[in-house]
């Protein structure tokens, strides 16, 4: 590796560029693969035949669905082995196998039934509010995940791995909340300023690893991990400062955000869904437009595919890296501001942003790093979260199971060859599903 200038990303080793190029080739192919068209063989089979052939082939949709199934199977096993009563029935399974099977079925079906009822629709619900409640909860959890998922996905497309969505969301939530209760502004304007403040916070926290990457070649994975922790400690510090901490409280909680800076609720005060979900859809469209229709998006994808070629073509790689991280930071910051300006919370606490940054990584991967895919993946994760709450309170199954399910889904998605082998899927076009984004340190 004769590398004349290793400190600067403008001269990255050629091997890395090749790997990145291969990765882009794959994503591009994956993109074309999602369209339901199959290669037209001779003689032309009927449409129904094509559909059936593709249904059990290793395409994006089938693999995603089967990954979900596999994850739920593993989740069910976890539920069974951790329930002493059900487990006891397995001690005499050879004598009366129906006991064990019945007990297991009851446990698992009830838990997943509640997951569904909490996320989508409860057949026993009476009245508009009760019927809409699961959807409202799902959308409430979805909105911030869309932003953080887009943040990670956008960076991915530019060849950067933004693990820092968590930290960027934390800085976003801090500035959004500060603007929300420190600035005396009229309604409307106040909300706008608070949202923009959140974006600014994220942008700053995205700019730092971006400029470090561009100027010194410091790897963004390491820096964003470190910045996550710095942001979290900063949050725990700023909450207890004078003027920020709630004067009536001794624990770590800030003053609440003024009503004039809160996102309006969409379906009345009884339901939690708020305008954040509309912003999320707009953001998805904006990122789609940015990536596929704008000059910057073209440059971004070019740099992500092959920085050397992009530089030869006259694109400033350093500038693009910084811009990618700033945009990623803005998106994550908006996700963070959702957490305090929406209905989830109205004041800063140490855990105010929950896990949205890390979940965003999963969402981006599940959404195959494409904007609308990310939005759908966020919807699935939001549903799991909302349903998990109900599963916890009705079936006594810990919410942690949702984390397990989410992680497992992404593990299976990331290794389509495994899913394909388990279910004996028909081979799709070669290498179509390789989500390899490997770049190393």
């Amino acid at each position: 590796m004769t590398n004349p200038n290793p400190g600067s990303p403008d001269k990255e080793p050629a091997t890395e560029a090749h790997a990145a190029q291969a990765a882009l080739g794959n994503t591009e192919r994956a993109e074309t693969a999602t369209s339901p068209k199959a290669p037209a063989p001779e003689p032309k089979p009927s449409l129904g035949r094509l559909f059936l052939d593709n249904l059990w082939a290793a395409n994006t949709f089938t693999v995603t669905l089967l990954s979900l199934v596999l994850a739920m199977v593993v989740g069910a096993i976890l539920m069974i082995v951790s329930d002493p009563e059900v487990l006891a029935t397995y001690s005499y399974i050879t004598a009366r196998p129906t006991d064990a099977l019945n007990a297991s079925w009851t446990l698992v079906s009830e838990a997943y039934g509640n997951l569904f009822k909490g996320a989508v629709f409860d057949p026993d619900a009476v009245g508009f509010q009760a019927a809409m409640s699961p959807i409202s909860e799902t959308l409430t959890y979805t909105a911030p995940l869309v932003f953080t998922g887009l943040s990670v996905a956008l960076a991915f497309r530019g060849g950067l791995f933004n693990i820092g969505a968590q930290g960027q969301a934390v800085m976003g939530v801090i500035l959004a909340a500060l603007a929300g209760f420190l600035l005396p502004l009229p309604p409307g304007l106040h909300l706008l300023v608070a949202v923009l403040a959140g974006a600014l916070g994220g942008a700053i926290w995205g700019f730092v690893p971006g400029i470090l990457k561009a100027r010194t070649g410091a790897h963004e994975v390491i820096n964003t991990i470190m910045l996550n922790y710095i942001a979290t400690y900063f949050l725990t510090w700023i909450i207890v400062q004078n003027g920020v901490q709630d004067p009536n409280r001794t624990d770590a909680i800030s003053r609440p955000v003024d009503g004039s800076a809160q996102l309006p609720r969409l379906l009345g005060d009884g339901l939690r869904v708020h305008a954040g979900i509309i912003l999320a859809v707009l953001a998805t469209w904006a990122v789609w437009w940015l990536l596929n229709r704008s000059t910057l998006g073209f440059e971004l994808r070019a740099v992500g595919a092959n920085p050397d070629a992009a530089r030869t073509a006259g694109i400033s790689v350093t500038r693009t890296y910084v811009l990618i991280m700033v945009f990623a930071g803005i998106l994550a910051g908006l996700g963070g501001s959702n957490m305090v300006l929406g209905s989830t919370a109205s004041a800063l606490t140490p855990l105010v942003v929950a896990q949205i940054g890390f979940d965003g990584i999963l969402v981006a991967l599940l959404g195959r790093v494409k904007p609308w895919g990310v939005a759908l993946a966020a919807l699935l994760f939001g549903a799991l979260q909302a349903g998990g709450n109900r599963m916890q309170s009705y079936s006594g199954i810990s919410l942690e199971l949702v984390t397990v399910l989410q992680a497992l889904i992404v593990i299976f998605i990331a290794a389509p060859a495994l899913v394909k082998a388990i279910f004996q899927l028909r081979a799709a076009r070669a290498a179509r599903l390789q989500t390899s984004l490997a770049k190393g340190w």
């Binding site: 590398n3 951790s82 470190m226 922790y229 710095i230 984390t403 992680a407 990331a414 290794a415 495994l418």
Partner: protein, 426 residues
């Protein structure tokens, strides 16, 4: 490793001109030294700052006048900075940098200790040293796990998950059997389980290793958290009351002042951790296995050509890393605390930082882990004496130091060349 030599030449090429790396670091050090001299010197009080060699204020102590100490040690840092700016030979770089940073830290301590509430103007060095080792211990295990993985070319971001799974299965099986050694083995197996997933998915299925690491961390948090709530919270007596290793005092050595109480009155994990640093260091740089591991991490194709089984070696090393990290996790639950949800709390990521800060070498990782442990312990101490420095900012220190290190401000760090790149034979 010829690639390294090439890189070094290249680095020298970048730094030509007046602003070499030594001068840049020197400028930073000079600024820090001036800050220490002026600010810490002004804020320090006339109290004697006492650094006692015992666990309390009694006994022998190193004493220095607060203001004098703060200014004096600050000037030491200034001198180091000036020496670097004046164009220091490269071989002195590390030593002078060390002197400068130690001067800065001592100046800071003189200010803090002299500024403490009346009657508390002392710093018990034994406590600090012991706490440093206790807090550094999981980092040492974690960073060693990282060394094993990454030297053979597999990025290990899953250290956090390995530690957590080790802690959990150590607690669970230690409690179920009541046997501490079963617990220890179970912890190693638990860590290796996460490693196995990492190995299979990144080596066999070519999933991006960083992605896999992040997801495995979440999986470990989820699985242990779920089982904790289902089993341990409902029946702590049965599932979460593992026996604990007591401290083993080593005769004679434990009577050495200062070092004895900190180093030779620890539990099995302390000795094991330090021993592992030594063993892995020797194994990595002096044995056939080590040469193969490093060659697979730097240039797998070349290693393969020479008959080294690249994938087999990677599997073995990643699993070994899981064993090491799993035991590191057990250093919580089989020695100090019962298992709680997400009890590792980011230590795995600090261990990753220690690995990088220590430049992917076992001894470097040990020093970095001790530095981070010291920062952690210092935060506790400063909290106890009501320091004006918020302890959140001290807690940020390891992370800031790592950013500075990878950005090349402190020392250039370079990962093994093939780290994170899957090897496809053919």
């Amino acid at each position: 490793m010829s690639t390294m030599a090439v890189e070094d030449v290249a680095v020298a090429g970048v730094d030509q001109g007046f602003w070499t790396r030594t001068r840049k670091v020197g400028a930073v050090l000079l600024a820090l030294g001036l800050l220490a001299t002026v600010l810490f010197g002004a804020l320090a009080t006339g109290e004697q700052a006492r650094f006692t060699l015992s666990e309390d204020s009694a006994g022998a102590a190193l004493e220095i006048h607060g203001t004098v100490g703060a200014i004096g040690f600050g000037l030491l840092a200034v001198a180091a900075g000036v020496a670097m700016l004046a164009g220091l030979p490269k071989r002195w770089f590390t030593l002078v940098l060390g002197v400068g940073l130690v001067g800065f830290v001592l100046s800071f301590l003189c200010w803090q200790v002299s500024d403490a509430p009346a009657g508390q103007n002392f710093m018990p060095l034994v406590n600090i040293l012991r706490g440093t080792f206790v807090l550094a211990l999981p980092l040492i295990f974690g960073a060693l796990a990282g060394v094993l993985c990454e030297r053979s070319g597999v990025v290990n971001v899953a250290i956090e998950g390995q530690l957590l799974m080790g802690a959990f299965s150590g607690a669970l099986f230690g409690s179920l059997t009541g046997n501490i050694w079963v617990g220890l083995v179970a912890a190693a197996v638990g860590g290796a389980f996460i490693s196995l997933l990492l190995a299979v998915f990144s080596i066999r299925y070519l999933v991006d290793q960083v992605v896999m690491g992040i997801v495995l961390n979440l999986l470990a948090v989820g699985v242990t958290g779920f089982l904790y709530e289902r089993l341990m919270q409902t029946n702590a007596q049965k599932y979460n009351s593992a026996p604990r290793f007591s401290n083993w005092e080593i005769p004679l050595l434990s009577d050495i002042p200062l070092l004895g109480p900190a180093l030779f009155r620890g539990n099995i994990f302390l000795y094991l951790g330090l021993l592992l640093v030594l063993v892995i260091h020797i194994a990595l740089f002096r044995t056939r296995w080590g040469l193969r591991t490093r060659s697979v991490g730097e240039h797998p194709t070349a290693a393969d050509t020479l008959g080294v089984k690249v994938l087999g070696l990677r599997y073995r090393n990643v699993l070994l890393a899981g064993v090491v990290a799993g035991i590191g996790g057990a250093s919580y639950t089989l020695a100090l605390y019962s298992f709680t949800k997400n009890m590792i709390g980011g230590k795995g990521f600090i261990a990753l930082a220690a690995l990088i800060f220590g430049r992917w070498s076992p001894t470097g990782a040990l020093l970095a882990a001790l530095f981070f442990g010291f920062a952690d312990q210092l935060a506790t101490y400063l909290g106890a004496i009501n320091s004006v420095i918020p302890n959140q900012f001290l807690a940020m220190l390891p992370y800031l130091a790592t950013i500075l290190a990878v950005a090349g401000l402190v020392g250039r760090v370079r990962a093994p060349a093939a780290d994170g790149k899957p090897y496809i034979k053919g």
